[in-house]
Symmetry: C2
Subunit: 347 residues, 2 copies
Amino acid sequence: MTEYKIALVGFGGVNRGLAQLIAERNAEWKASLGFSIKIVGVTDLFLGSIVAKDGLDAKQLVAMPVEKGVFAQLPGGTAEAFNETVIRHSGADMIAEATFTNPVDGEPATTFCRWALESGIHVVTTNKGPVALHGAELKDLARRHGVAFEYEGSVMSGTPVIRLARQALPGVGIQGFEGILNGTSNYVLTRMKDGLSFNDAVAQAQQLGYAEADPTADVEGFDVRLKVVILANELLNARLNVSDVACSGISSISPEDIAQASANDASWKLIGSASREVDGSVRASVEARLLPNSHPLAGISGATNAVSFNTALLGNVTVSGPGAGRIETAFALLSDIIAIHTTHGKQ
Amino acid sequence: MTEYKIALVGFGGVNRGLAQLIAERNAEWKASLGFSIKIVGVTDLFLGSIVAKDGLDAKQLVAMPVEKGVFAQLPGGTAEAFNETVIRHSGADMIAEATFTNPVDGEPATTFCRWALESGIHVVTTNKGPVALHGAELKDLARRHGVAFEYEGSVMSGTPVIRLARQALPGVGIQGFEGILNGTSNYVLTRMKDGLSFNDAVAQAQQLGYAEADPTADVEGFDVRLKVVILANELLNARLNVSDVACSGISSISPEDIAQASANDASWKLIGSASREVDGSVRASVEARLLPNSHPLAGISGATNAVSFNTALLGNVTVSGPGAGRIETAFALLSDIIAIHTTHGKQ
């Protein structure tokens, strides 16, 4: 029986969700997945850090209050985040990197990923920053050190879009994709269709916890742009940077635009897309588009996300599911670990 | 470089489509997939059979007219379908079984699959009959002989529903599924929403080539029932037989029912579904259901198929795409061959 030793880097909602899954399901995974997981280290800039080579009690970790330096209360724990020690020296086989997304330079998450990979430690992450901004470098680093760099959760949380394309669609000829990749903006557009103004819809999204206090990244398309870079580079073998992707959002769409679309059996959607051009280059954008209601993405409502692949042999294939959520995103990390077990696992 | 030797069993639209893909893409596959495919035998009850251990010209095969016994015109060919010879003695590594679906006993396709598997030859098939009626026996036979029995195309043609569940969703806790699994009946319901009567909508589906001269299997749910058995046994580890699945169709739905549904922001759909009950048993059915338009399957229109998985960790995840088509179904066979290459390939 394989037991993976994991270090959790960042202990917000997502890695707390992973710890909860480990607490509840480790015994079942031994039978159903062929492995179990032991948490040997946790580090978080706010909570502190702890290393325990014999393993930490996942249930106890989940129950830790969100208080500055609280890990100092654990035997062997400290209020300081000794990130490098936890990543390099906890004896972990893999780290689950789930710190905040920094859209400017991907730090400090990218450094955390580098530390792990160059130490021969697998990385699973839900963080868009390192993948969108430094994906090629990190994939190459992983390859050179014979370990995995997996990031299913960086797009559409646990809904398997990257793994679907990689494992179920090789040979199909993916020529491009269109996606609804941000739940907040899609929720806002859905509520505007119900008659709300843009500002009222944003306020409601904030009340429901979908939107941040500053909703700019969601409604102006910046969040989607990172995901488009990740998907284009993954699915179309592109080498796009964020600055290659033209980006506009939904804040200029008026209630009148929405009503007129409905009258014409169409819907406004914030679409992140990329396609391979005749000359072989890849063109990508983020923009509000008016879709006929017969389009596979027109009916995706509320906070749901979806990607429609445009393929040579199957035409359009579309996958939809949650695009956010604590447990949903933690499942992405689990699915990355399962993929590592399949390809690198000690049999 | 691996070269797979394949025998095509049945040479209707689907295997002709596979031959076309081989003719057009073999060179590209060497680079992109790591293998190429050589056709070493073909057999078809109407066209005859041929064995050629050095390989047949795929392009020439595709161009053969659909005439009784036409394979006799090929050097070494015969007007008779020597099925067992082609399957067992053509030197094939695998057969692509794409004969007609027999919903009563799965024959002769099931016998063809048995011959191959017990000879240590992989089977890829798009045929619902053997999988729905004898799936457990054939999977066991494949396991005992160390070969693969793959059948992605038996449900939703090449749209990857089985492979999505197997490879991208382990650990997610699939509790059930609902699917629109028959394009003809969904097309009929979509046209009825546009105002056509049931009979006129069926006639239009027949004109477009979606529906058979006898549309019973499509509109009464019998086709969907076979697919529900396949998916329930695959996704929920059920051991259902066709007779375990209650089945009704759409022929009793009136234009008034459709209009009333539209007025209530809902849609009638023919839904094949299965779910795990509290006692661990699996309950499955095929029936017309009134779905609110917010349901992930309500917006699936025309001949498109879709399956929505109900999962413990992600809620609903839905995949939609083509459910029929010559090349689309041939792609399913290719995706099965890719899966065999990944798991059984000579590296």
